[in-house]
Amino acid sequence: MNMPLLKNDWVIMAIFTVAVLTAPLWLTPVGAGYPDLMQKFAIFGIFAIGFNLLFGLTGYLSFGHAVFLGVGSYTAVWSFKLLTMNVLPAVIFSILLAGVFAVVIGYLSLRRSGIYFSILTLAFAQMSYNLAYSVLTPLTNGETGLQLTMDDPRVLDGPVGQGLPSTQLFGIEMSGYNGFYFCAVMLILGFFISLRIFRSPFGLKLLAIKSNQTRMKYTGFNTRPYLLTAFVISGMYAGLAGSLMAVTDPLAGAERMQWTASGEVVLMTILGGAGTLFGPLFGAGIIKYFENIFSAMNDGRLHEIFAFLPDWLENIVVAITGEFVGEGWHLTLGLLFMIVVIFLPGGVVEGIRRASAYVKGIFQSSGDKDVALSAEKE
């Protein structure tokens, strides 16, 4: 039972790597095979994987993770402005600075648990957001957002030619597919680390904290450093995601820190399945995919889709569905979210598990009743 586990992990990694790198191939038939959208999948995938390392493993619900996303973005843009357009230093600095923020915010917030922890993280996020908009304008450029300009020093790059330079990795421009592949590699790395943590004694201890923290203390563990480590790692993932946003589009605004942005990553994680390895990725993918499709849709497009219906019915159907697409995409999202929390707290992954158990049940019940019974008991 142990050997296959270890082997399985490498198989999982291999399949995952191939799947991510070939994404342009298998995403094209569903209309998502273009770099802009695939980058989003990868970036929010990283964000959600990181969030899951905190929420999924320890059960601590942070409502302030957008801060680290924002810090990552600002740091990356500053790195582009001051040092070089090379993305590597930008990514590294972003992860580190997000980590520093996470140490401070985590150290204070983790003195409390439950709702109080959530509210503390929310309060820190709101403070950061408000400050980024007001007194920190010299650092954040306030409402306009931090952008590249022609007179940025960029000390490592030397003088540039005409126009704003674009982000690059040792000369390879980070636009189009290059940008996607850079994000994809980061996603694979991020997933690998997450997988290792899930399978490690450290990960098991985090799960045990989620299950019964008091018992952990009497078992001889100092739970706070464990929680803080998980918090910081998870903050660094958010920093990485934030920096990748700046890599693909060198601009950073305070709205990235708003608490609704924190809410979005919570949503992704729950929708996919908190505490599962793949859940957050599914959640991020599903939300970004449908956001792309639904928000681009309008009544004209809906009329085309429902053209096969009789006219009067078509109009009714379009009028109703019209509320849920385009501007109304958030309504769909909110409903979807409620439905998942109410009926399927385990998220999509739990849904798949139940569905496959159900299908198995059908096949077994026709053959061997005893087996079906024992499966039910479990």
Partner: protein
Amino acid sequence: MSIVLSIKNVDKTFGGLHALGDINLDIEEGKTHAIIGPNGAGKSTLLNCCIGRLIPDSGTVEFEGKNMIGMQPHEINHAGMVRVFQTPEIFPDLTVLQNVMIPALARRDGTFKFNAFVSLASEKAIEADAVHILEDMGLGEHIHKHAGSMSRGDKRRLELAMGLVQHPRLLLLDEPTAGMARHDTNRTIDLLKRIKERGMTKIIIEHDMHVVFSLADTISVLAQGRIIASGTPDEIRGNPKVQEAYLGGAEL
């Protein structure tokens, strides 16, 4: 024989209630010491003072010469004093095996260790240790079950396994057989007897006199927050004061 645990002049009041008054108790190495007494006598309070859940108003609790008062629960655990709870305190979301691997990891890793890049599957020694204890407890066939789905009796035995896997030098048992069926109780008694043969020091709080008299080397009787008698089982059995306080005069 050396003294493992020494409780000196411990006092504890809650509001106006004098829960513990001037408790003095020495536990000798390798002995099983039972604390008995009617409900509300202060038994659990005393245990909580030893384990760091409560801080006494005055007095000291010395474990192997070190004062434990004011120490964090995880520090007390690493000093070698482990408590098994009255209501099963387990990790309901983990498997039975994982439940026992956690304390085994605590013993090896200390209060904090960042081993995020080691595979759990490669922790053979930890796993073997856990499996061994679980088989000893008669839980061998349950090791991959969800701990939360087990019967209450099994949970209590799991808790015992979680305590034993840490090889504590002092084990505090809070009513280890409460809520168990008779045959489970007997099984637990046998088990505790075997540990005794290995020389582990134990404090047992127990209502079941059958359990107390089959296990204890020495007994202290607590009534209204005070120790009214201490001695061997025979001395306690014959002590009229104990009979008066504990059973209202009935024969023990």
